[in-house]
């Protein structure tokens, strides 16, 4: 099995991604550009550009809802809450 050929996006089931709401809040002022959010995100939804982190525009349909980005954010620029009840990632084999 070629690890590079695994399509990890295809391996995540989601429902009602358009109703998830804005569950990651980001305060650009507080960001120190360390890039840890980008390093721990499974789907690289954070990128650092010109010294500041930036979250992918349509992150709702891609995020795994783990919350690691908030946990590693030393200056507290990222606040992760959960998407609206009944929406988002569905885990069948967890």
């Amino acid at each position: 099995m070629d690890a590079e050929s695994i399509d990890f996006f295809e391996l995540v089931k989601r429902v009602d991604t358009d109703m998830m709401g804005d569950f990651i809040q980001y305060d650009r002022e507080k960001c120190n550009g360390c890039g840890l959010c980008s390093l721990v995100c499974s789907f690289s939804l954070w990128a650092v550009k010109q010294g500041k982190a930036k979250l992918a525009m349509h992150y709702q349909g891609l995020c795994l809802e783990c919350g690691a980005c908030e946990e590693v954010c030393e200056p507290g620029a990222i606040e992760f809450s959960y998407p609206k009840g009944g929406t988002g990632v569905i885990i069948e084999y967890g």
């Binding site: 099995m1 690890a3 590079e4 695994i6 990890f8 391996l11 995540v12 089931k13 429902v15 709401g21 840890l36 390093l39 721990v40 995100c41 499974s42 789907f43 690289s44 795994l64 809802e65 783990c66 919350g67 690691a68 908030e70 946990e71 590693v72 954010c73 507290g76 992760f80 809450s81 959960y82 998407p83 609206k84 009840g85 009944g86 988002g88 990632v89 569905i90 885990i91 069948e92 084999y93 967890g94």
Partner: protein, 494 residues
């Protein structure tokens, strides 16, 4: 405004068991789950160990019949070198003497959360608790610094005498009540890849076992279910985190040893998940006025191997019992709920953390330290060659010459482990029960000239004088079948 005796936030194993215990105690109880059903949002290793038979035997009986279950009788440990080649395999069945420990010996099960969580939630609703699904609780009602209820995302306010927060590693309740902001290095991130497998092949090749892969490149569990398995490769979210989660998983999948496993099991990637898992020396504060934290939200996973579901049920039970006690007194203040901490510390759960510092330190300095693992693998492989079954197959030279060469290798490697032994292994010695220390000392007594003629009592007195390290174990007033308390031990050693 709606008013309940107990509101439980979270419909995972801890939340459901807390709700069940509260409802059984006659409390008006509601519990909230953000998924469409319990288990919808949960990713974990999910192997349930022997202690479930001790503490939750009826649940274990019921779980055996659920579709995803594979019975587990042992863990197979596979050590892989820096090229991903299998170098060593061992297992953890214990001898037949282990059957005396509990009626079910070493047995456990693997079960997917989509089976486990709804079953446990059903116990709670059968006991009379109300379950509300697809509902996110995202705030607390605070009054004079005390939690008085919760708010749902739709703005609904729900009052409660006591709130039990079972909302996982990223607990919103802990944050909103001011108990905690972040874990600050005490939390791991676990990317997890699930595979579907040929069930018959799993039966033949894996049988009733979990697998664990260790090596200089990774430490990962392979939990085996009825017709599938998943691997998780976690690491602490600390400064030395150096790799993207997907790259970790891809690397692991690429190793020759793992590729063979995938091939023979006809494994196909089925689901990818990532979850946070607190892995602490000791949980931070677990209560505030009007609210108690349980399970992952409290930081209860085991400090050695981070299993957390037994801990969630057990803390949920203690929290709900404390809630019943507090409500009967009409006092759920912070001071009253300190009773929760007193109770869990005095329970089997508290016992887990008696050596929390020692267990989590040795684990992070070995299995999770690539450089240390590379060296440890070498040492372990040399040790394994001294075993009678191994030396039989080293026929490079005469067997006794081979044995001497392996002995030399061990002595070459030993100095590198002196510091490791002193720093991480030696502190664990405190945990050896005094009666066992005495038994060891009595075993060597006949071999020591000058001491062998003394009475046992006088022999222990002399040893205690000669060795500061052993003195605390030989104190006649110390409990014989429990670890020497940390302060007593440290006083003795100093």
């Amino acid at each position: 405004m709606e008013k309940w005796d107990v509101v439980v936030v979270g419909g995972g194993p801890g939340g459901s068991y807390a709700a069940r215990t509260a409802a059984d105690a006659g409390l008006k109880t509601v519990f909230f789950e953000r998924g469409r059903k319990p288990g919808d949002k949960n990713s974990s290793g999910c192997g349930l160990g022997q202690r479930w038979w001790r503490d939750y035997p009826e649940i274990m009986e019921d779980l055996q019949d659920l579709p995803s279950v594979r019975k587990i009788e042992m863990v197979v440990i596979k050590l892989v070198d820096e090229h991903g080649r299998l170098r060593y395999t061992s297992g953890t069945t214990g001898s037949d003497l282990c059957a005396n420990r509990w009626p079910h010996g070493m047995d456990g099960i693997s079960i997917y959360r989509r089976d486990l969580d709804p079953y446990l939630a059903n116990l709670a609703t059968s006991a009379g608790a109300e379950l509300r699904t697809s509902t996110l609780v995202n705030d607390v009602i605070m009054d004079n610094g005390q939690v008085k209820g919760v708010k749902t995302e739709s703005g609904e306010s729900i009052q409660a005498d006591v709130v039990i927060a079972a909302d996982g590693a990223m607990s919103t309740m802990a944050k909103k009540s001011g108990l905690r902001k972040r874990w600050g290095g005490g939390c791991t991130l676990v990317p997890q890849l699930d595979f579907s497998c040929n069930e018959e092949r799993m039966d033949d090749i894996i049988g009733n076992a979990e697998w664990c892969w260790f090596g200089s490149l990774f430490a990962t569990y392979q939990v085996n279910f009825r017709d599938g398995m998943h691997i998780g490769a976690g690491q602490w979210l600390r400064d030395d985190w150096s790799e993207k989660p997907l790259d970790m998983i891809k690397k692991l999948v690429s190793y020759p040893a793992f590729q063979s496993t995938l091939k023979v099991l006809e494994a196909k990637p089925r689901e990818y998940q990532a979850h946070m898992l607190p892995w602490l020396e000791y949980p931070p504060k677990t209560y505030t006025g009007g609210m108690m934290l349980i399970g992952d939200a409290a930081g209860f996973p085991c400090p050695l191997e981070a299993e957390g579901i037994w801990h969630a049920l057990t803390s949920g039970k203690i929290a709900a019992e404390t809630a019943a006690w507090a409500i009967s007194k009409g006092d759920a203040s912070e001071r009253a709920l300190s009773e929760y901490e007193r109770r869990w510390k005095a329970s089997e759960l508290g016992k887990e953390f008696e050596f929390g510092k020692e267990w989590s330190s040795i684990w992070s300095a070995s299995a999770f330290d690539p450089a240390a693992m590379e060296k440890q693998l070498q040492l372990l492989l040399e040790f394994s060659m001294l075993h009678p079954f191994s030396i039989v197959f080293d026929w490079g030279d005469a067997h006794m010459d081979c044995l001497n060469q392996h002995l030399e290798h061990i002595m070459d490697l030993a100095p590198e482990f002196a510091d490791f032994g002193k720093q991480y292994v030696a502190p664990l010695a405190r945990g050896i029960w005094p009666k066992n220390v005495k038994r060891i000392l009595l075993n060597v007594k006949p071999k020591i000239p000058g001491l062998r003629r003394l009475s046992d009592q006088n022999y222990f007195k002399v040893i205690a004088k000669l060795s500061k390290g052993l003195a605390p174990f030989l104190d006649p007033n110390i409990k014989q079948d429990a670890a020497v308390p940390r302060d007593v031990y440290e006083r003795g050693v100093k």
